[in-house]
Amino acid sequence: MSFARRAIASIIRKPGKTLILLVIIFVLGNIIAGAVSIRQAATNAQVLLRTKMSPVVSLGFDNEKYAALWEQNPALEIEDIALETLEKIGVSPYVKYFDYSAKVIGISLSSGFSSSSEDPTLPGISFINAIGVNNPEIVDLKEGLIQLVSGRVFTEQEIKNLTYVALIPQEMAEKNNLSVGSVIPFECGFDTEAEKPRTFDFEIIGIYRAKIMEGEFRDGIYAPNRALNEMNEMANNEVLKDPNVTESDYQSILETFKIYYTTLFILNDPTDLNAFREEVATLLPAYYTVTVASNSLEKSAAPLQSIREIVTLVLCVAVVAAVLTMSLLITLFLRDRRQEIGIYLSLGERKFKVAGQILVEIAVIALMAITLSLFTGNLLSGAISEQMLTDQMAADQANVGQYSPGDYAYRYQGATATEQLAESYTTSLDTTIVLLFYIIGFVTVCVSVLLPIFYITRLNPKKILMGGELEL
């Protein structure tokens, strides 16, 4: 009857003690399993988010900084960011994709065409948002915000040269019976007595479907910045033809309808953010700042990081509590079994085998309790972490930077972050969690039996079996 068999006999034939130990390890195991599961789910979600989402940043105007600088120097004038500067930032090693977009909202389609945003007060006129692009591959496509249904993206030549080409949403194509190769006429300018709007024919080179993009850009058209710019400039020039427009009116119109660009930088890695900020700071006027879109990894991963920190603390406390509780409990049980241990020692059993028997007993009970708690702990952790995630996301949402609808980065802001975070966060039982939990469990058990094993090494069979005080 080997020490392992003796251990099994002890477990089976002393059900009371086995049950007490099982319940205690089960309870502690639930805390540990829950913490391991939540921690691993948070880690997995962070990794998944990193692969799903790159940090999205933009360059924005910092009102507070400008106000502070203006107080020092009231003659300070706002300087636009030069396209050369943007291009320089765009080739930074921290940047994965970069683009800037001419912000043109509300160009009208010629009569006979319709978009999803029709104004009932202006029958027969449909407005559409245009999204200027400088990156021919289209960052929104690269980042999965849209999907190309048919056709292609832009070519370098189409972007560089003045070419009237566009990618239109599937909805618009279906509504107007358009396909790749069709021409879509845009009207630009004022419909007055003196002048009529000019029509620009854009050739459709691709049709896309918005995947996760929300809001007014969902049905926008993608067109080269240069084409949009040209369209805008011509419209402005048309104004001059009106004899009623004075020079000052014209300047005011030019200022109002001036094209400006919003920027979008998709970074390679969230850890690059600070380095990118530092690099950009040297190239831009002091009142510009790097703003982070809400669904960037830094922001989205914040609740996960908070959860990870909380559960790591819980895990450490639970492991220490488990070690202490189990050590004391096993030692207490061993004191009850000292006669049995004395018998083994009087028969000449090696102390390490006696310790081995105790270790096997605890390990078998722990294995059962840990396996049970693995499942229940995982179930509990699912419910707990859902609440934790909701609370943390609500808390972190308050700190998110906001963009105006016309900003390029706006499309990367909003519900998609929450959705992706919720999608990425699952408390399932994968191999890593199971292995990690068993490793932590068995390390805890092994540490817990150190004190009892020390107790065994101090036992003297003569004192146990032939009388005398027991020494610990």
Binding site: A9, L347, E349
Partner: protein, 225 residues
């Protein structure tokens, strides 16, 4: 050649600056095939003497030899495992195991070569000392005192050792049971060529023994039997 030799053994407890001797210069020899009784009053050092013979304790000075080899050199644990069997007054069986499992525990611990079918050997041993299979399969706390002591004797024999040490083996038993146990111990010495050393108060056991020693004031004296 003596099987067990006790050579100038001293055992004492420190008592302030002085020493309180339990055993003083004790020397004696024990042979195979003999049944020895060691008598003595309570506190005379009988149990201490037995614990030294059984390698449960170490003498302060002097030696205990087994086949002329110091048991310290053999190793106390190894000596207990392979050379001796001990029977205690309180039986000291593992309470949640059956009689036969108690025997098998001892057989699994020893390094001595034993027959392959330990189960059969264990049942045969129990049968030999008077416990049938039904009782052999009971947990020991469901057996009477006499039956438990038989299990303890069978366990001492199970490892195929030459020396059987017994500490007041009949101390908790009635007279009839005592006679039976003494008969078994005598049989082990005389029929199975074991060296049986019993520490006891009982004159009944002393009468059956081949040689009797008495411990008095730390000295071991041979008595006429």
């Amino acid at each position: 050649m003596s099987l067990v030799t006790v050579s100038k053994v001293n055992y004492f407890y420190p008592d302030g600056d002085a020493r309180r001797y339990i055993l003083k210069d004790v020397s004696c020899t024990f042979e195979r095939g003999s049944f020895y009784a060691i008598l003595g009053e309570s506190g005379s050092g009988k149990t201490t003497f037995l614990s030294l013979l059984g390698a449960l304790d170490k003498p302060k000075s002097g030696k205990v030899l087994y086949e002329e080899q110091d048991i310290a050199a053999i190793g106390f644990e190894s000596f207990r495992r392979n050379k001796i069997g001990i029977i205690f007054q309180a039986y000291n069986l593992i309470p949640y195991m059956t009689a036969v499992e108690n025997i098998k525990v001892a057989m699994s611990i020893t390094d001595n070569k034993l027959p392959k079918d330990v189960n059969e050997v264990a049942y045969n041993l129990l049968d030999y000392i008077g416990l049938d299979k039904a009782k052999a399969d009971r947990t020991v706390n469901k057996l009477s005192g006499g039956e438990q002591q038989r299990v303890a004797i069978a366990r001492a024999l199970a490892t195929n050792v030459d020396v059987i040490l017994a500490d007041e083996p009949t101390g908790n038993l009635d007279e009839d049971m005592e006679n039976e146990i003494v008969a078994i111990l005598g049989k082990l010495a005389h029929e199975h060529n074991k060296c049986v050393i019993v520490v006891t108060h009982s004159t009944q056991i002393a009468k059956q023994a081949d040689a009797v020693f008495k411990l008095r004031k730390g000295k071991l004296e041979a008595m006429d039997n």
